[in-house]
């Protein structure tokens, strides 16, 4: 009993601190700083707690959630993402005169939703987690409520997201109908023993599930919301959504695919492979023609979701490790890139075009250098972390016999190089026109985020073992204590 509570400690902590942050608002006057501090510390504590309970692999609460190991890895990832977001959000929101307490509270709620998804050992828990996370995201997307773009983003995200949730729920219902259970272990047992009564129903259910989760992960063809939402949302929120949010979707994807795969392996693998290939190509080709940097990064995030899907296609130990490694890497490099964008963004939401970055290496040499590092990492050039992530996933895909998918991945990487280094060209090689307004961008607390992101890109790039030693031993479907 207590064992259960202890193992699920991170989940309790995050929920309690989200509610606590909300209440704190009511009791403290002018509580912005206090809540920022409280939330950041709370996430830090959650991360530490996740490390502590890492060894307690198992399930709890009537098998509804799993603890330790796999979910712990994601807990740390989400907490880190939350901390990085909050630190960079503070100067960003202050500059926009929009710093209210709710922001930090909503980030905490989003993190608790994500963690619930990673902990889920039952389809219902997945659903609850996704809803908690999504609703927080809808609010955060429309957070700059005087900006038309922000409102558009929130509305679009909400309407399409609600629709996608419908697919997800319907898929779950069909899977329940076919296998007679919502719990992962029972579904797994039914699928792998071949005693499913309505195989067609199961297959349709899996298809719908892939649509629902694919929407959250923004893979082709369910990605159309991403560019508008990513562009319109406050930049720091975009950073959070496109990394931690994506990681959360994949944290549900990984165990679900691995338990549902056995019955229809070739069909599901092919479906996922086609989605992955199309995401990589469409994402990268669309990104080439973007002139807005947030849109460019949005399309590129579609492509990165495609790369990550290669790990799902492989559905092997290496695929699992590769996916988790890539998600961690992606968190650092994508948050880093978006935070640089947010720091350079002026109050009126200007300075977001690629041409605004011309000559950045002269006006802001440090930001330009960091941006270049993140771009090279996203493009997958060693020794930065992004390269090793790709290597991991390519290896997994080739091992699974999907060499053609790797070829598509390689081709689309070459395409992606064009726009990633295009930004470097603008920052370093082009000279700014005369008479451009000069302004001084200051990082403030976002500097901490940038330090963490840069360190992450370098350290896990040079020493990938740090992550892969952890991910290698993880199991997707936990057995009870």
């Amino acid at each position: 009993m207590w064992n259960e509570f202890y193992a699920a400690l991170p989940l309790f902590l995050i929920s309690a601190s989200a509610i606590g942050a909300m209440l704190l608002d009511a009791f403290i006057k002018d509580s912005r700083r206090a809540i920022l501090l409280f939330s950041t510390l709370a996430l830090g504590v959650v991360a530490v707690a996740s490390v502590l309970v890492f060894q307690h692999e198992g399930t709890g609460f009537a098998g509804m959630i799993k603890t330790g190991g796999y979910p712990s890895f994601f807990d740390i990832l989400f907490a880190l993402g939350g901390i990085m977001t909050m630190l960079s959000a503070h100067p960003y929101l202050e500059r926009n005169n929009f710093e209210f307490d709710e922001f930090y509270t909503m980030v905490l709620f989003a993190v608790s939703g994500m963690m619930l998804i990673a902990h889920a050992n039952n389809l219902l828990v997945v659903f609850i987690g996704i809803e908690v996370m999504s609703i927080s995201f809808y609010v955060l997307a429309g957070y700059l409520r005087t900006s038309i773009l922000s409102i558009e983003a929130a509305l679009k995200y909400f309407l399409l997201g609600a629709f996608a949730t419908g697919f997800l729920l319907y898929g779950m219902a069909l899977i329940y109908g076919a296998t007679g259970s919502l719990g992962f272990p029972a579904i797994s047992a039914a699928v792998s023993s071949g005693t499913v009564e309505f195989p067609t129903l199961l297959l349709i259910g899996i298809g719908l599930l892939i649509i629902g989760l694919g929407f959250k992960a923004a893979v082709f063809p369910f990605h159309v919301w991403a560019p508008d939402v990513y562009q319109g949302s406050p930049t720091v929120v975009t950073a959070f959504m496109s990394t931690a949010g994506k990681a959360a979707a994949f944290s549900a994807f990984l165990p679900l695919i691995s338990i549902l795969m056995p019955a229809n392996a070739p069909k599901i693998q092919m479906l996922l492979a086609v989605i992955a290939a199309a995401s990589m190509l469409v994402g990268n080709i669309s990104a080439v023609v973007q002139s807005n940097i947030k849109r460019m990064l949005a399309y590129s995030s579609v492509a990165h979701a495609g790369y990550i899907m290669m790990g799902l296609v492989a559905n092997s130990e290496r695929g699992l490790s590769g996916t988790m490694y890539y998600l961690a890497t992606y968190l650092f490099m994508q948050v880093g890139a978006f935070v640089v964008v947010s720091v350079l963004e002026t109050k009126a939401g200007k300075n977001l075009e690629i041409k605004d970055y011309i000559g950045l290496s002269k006006t802001h040499p440090l930001f330009a250098a960091l941006m270049a590092v993140f771009m090279f990492s996203l493009a997958g050039i060693p020794p930065f972390a992004g390269f090793f992530g790709k290597y991991y996933l390519f290896t997994a895909a080739i091992e699974a016999g999907y060499t053609w998918l790797t070829l598509v991945g390689v081709l689309s990487s070459v395409i992606s190089v064009y726009f990633y280094i295009g930004l470097v060209v603008a920052m370093y090689f082009q000279d700014p026109e005369e008479g451009v307004e000069k302004y001084e961008a200051k990082a403030g607390l976002a500097g901490l985020t940038l330090i963490v992101a840069t360190a992450g890109v370098f350290i896990i790039g040079l020493l990938p073992v740090i992550i892969s030693n952890i991910t290698d031993s993880l199991r997707l479907v936990a057995q009870s204590f």
């Binding site: 070459v414 280094i421 370093y428």
Partner: protein, 530 residues
């Protein structure tokens, strides 16, 4: 061991140290960069002294596991071929840095950091004994070179930089797939995935022919783009012309050699059967490149572009030598890599010196320079003749041996390549002599040319060492070739036993070589020194 590690990591340490310099300290930055590269050169001399030329195997081997999941490791070591090219790298770098002193004025700190990073990457490529590590170094080079062309280049620098980057990426990513494939194959055979070249070089020849062909192509594409082999050469003239002088020197001197080095180290050694299969194709392309590069060079009016196209032609000889797969051919290719690095490097230095004075590279703007800058003229002439392949200078040795290799290669089994390739030597004489005549001789009726000063002390320091080695190799090649001889023989023996199943053939070839030498070639250019 220590010397090799120092040779590899000193430039990186230098780049990191330069990060902490104040950007106003132009002079301090310049001289520190020079000091680091000179120190690296000294370290590499210790490697040279410690190297045992009679041992055909890899020496100074260091093995450390880096990523156990993929058995990727920090594995480095040298054989004779890599030793020579590493020496070339450490030798060219201080000269390139010296050549930058007067031509680079903006963002000096970043410039010298990039130069040292470049050296780190290049050395790494030549010493890596792990395909993963090799790939990492191979790609690491892209970033500094991209910045060198893009920031400090000429008018069309952005176009050239992006073209360079994309071209290289296309090739190298396919190579990455082949590297993974190779690891997977090792996994099938031995049970564990690996990128350890020491294991892979035994596994490579066992791969079935069909698969080997694909792998060969994936590796070769990447290397042939870098070489560059016709018709993949189109990035080279742009990159050369737009790069700053030092960039061109490094590009021609060392970077292109990464391609030819890779062809020997990976393609020949890992896929001997496929090498035999594709040798006629690659040799044909090489010969076409020799002729094509020469013909295009002939019609250039821009001196730098002319030298750039001459590189396409000269590198053709190297590829021809490699895929003759004979000891002479490969030895010739290796020494030709060094030669080309020295003589084309020197030509680029000379062009850079002219450009510094006049800020133009159009031949028609010059004329009669010999009378105004006689000392410069002498060095320029030596570099030019070395590039032409005049006996007594280094270029001759390499071209002669590669052609000889192609001539008697049992794999090619025809004289056509050698004969057509040899015409390239004549063309080289034509375009280089015409260029030299137009620039250095004739009437000096352009008033802008009247007041040019002759070599400065800095320029002396750049040209003298290069010239010494050009003459040295020309007169006594065995000083250098003996280092790579044993490893080349071992390699050829391996290729032959893999493709012919017996080494009897090797013996026969050796017999023939000895006979021929007794009859025909009593000169020192021959490799064998028993």
């Amino acid at each position: 061991m220590g010397a090799l590690l120092a040779t590899l990591f000193l430039p990186l340490a230098g780049a990191i140290a330069l990060l902490f310099y104040d950007r106003e300290m132009g002079k301090g930055i310049r001289y520190s960069a020079l000091a680091f590269s000179l120190l690296t050169f000294v370290c590499s001399i210790f490697v040279w002294l410690g190297f045992d030329a009679s041992n055909p195997g890899l020496q100074f081997v260091i093995q450390q596991t880096w990523i156990p999941q993929f058995d990727a490791g920090f594995r480095i070591g040298l054989d004779g071929m890599s030793l020579l090219i590493v020496m070339l790298t450490t030798f060219i770098m201080p000269i390139s840095i010296l050549a930058s002193f007067n031509s680079i004025h903006k963002r000096q700190k970043e410039y010298y950091i990039m130069m040292l990073l470049l050296q780190f990457g290049m050395t790494g490529v030549f010493v890596a004994l792990d395909t993963f590590l090799f790939y990492v170094f191979w790609e690491v080079i892209l970033i500094p070179m991209y910045f060198l062309i893009g920031i400090w280049g000429g008018q069309q620098r952005i176009y050239a930089a992006v073209k360079f980057f994309l071209y290289t990426m296309v090739g190298s990513l396919l190579m990455l797939i082949a590297i993974i494939w190779l690891g997977m194959y090792a996994q099938e055979l031995t049970g564990s995935f690996t990128t350890n070249l020491l294991i892979l070089r035994d596994i490579g020849p066992q791969i079935p022919a069909e698969t080997q062909h694909w792998m060969f192509l994936a590796f070769a594409l990447s290397f042939c783009i870098k070489v560059p082999l016709f018709p993949l050469h189109t990035w080279l003239p742009d990159a050369h012309v737009q790069a700053p002088t030092a960039g061109s020197v490094i590009l021609a001197g060392v970077l292109l050699k990464m391609g030819t080095y890779g062809l020997i180290r990976f393609n020949l050694e890992l896929f001997p059967q496929a090498s035999e299969y594709f040798a006629p194709l690659l040799c044909t392309l090489a010969v076409v490149g020799i002729i094509y590069g020469a013909l295009v060079a002939m019609v250039q009016t821009d001196i730098k572009k002319l030298v750039a196209y001459s590189s396409v032609s000269h590198l053709g000889f190297i590829v021809l030598g490699i895929f003759s797969m004979t000891p002479e051919g490969i030895q010739g290719a290796i020494i030709q890599m060094i030669n080309h690095g020295l003589s084309t490097g020197a030509l680029f230095l000379c062009v850079g010196m002219l450009y510094e004075r006049r800020h133009t590279r159009e031949m028609s703007e010059y004329g009669g320079i010999m009378r105004i800058m006689p000392v410069f003229g002498v060095f320029f002439a030596i570099a030019m003749f070395a590039s032409v392949g005049l006996p007594g200078l280094n270029g001759f040795v390499g071209e002669y041996l590669t052609l000889l290799g192609a001539f008697r290669s049992p794999f090619l089994n025809t004289w056509v390549y050698a004969i057509v390739g040899a015409t390239g030597v004549i063309f080289a004489a034509v375009y280089l002599l015409i260029m030299f005549q137009r620039v250095m001789y004739g009437t000096n009726d352009n008033p802008k040319n009247q007041a040019l000063h002759d070599l400065t002390a800095n320029e002396w320091f750049q040209l003298v060492p290069v010239t010494i080695f050009m003459i040295w190799i020309g007169i006594h090649p065995p000083t250098f070739m003996k280092y790579s001889e044993q490893s080349t023989r071992a390699l050829v023996g391996k290729v032959e036993s893999a493709t012919r199943g017996t080494t009897a053939f090797t013996k026969e070839l050796e017999q023939r070589t000895t006979n021929d030498r007794a009859h025909l070639h009593p000169e020192p250019a021959m490799v064998e020194q028993h």
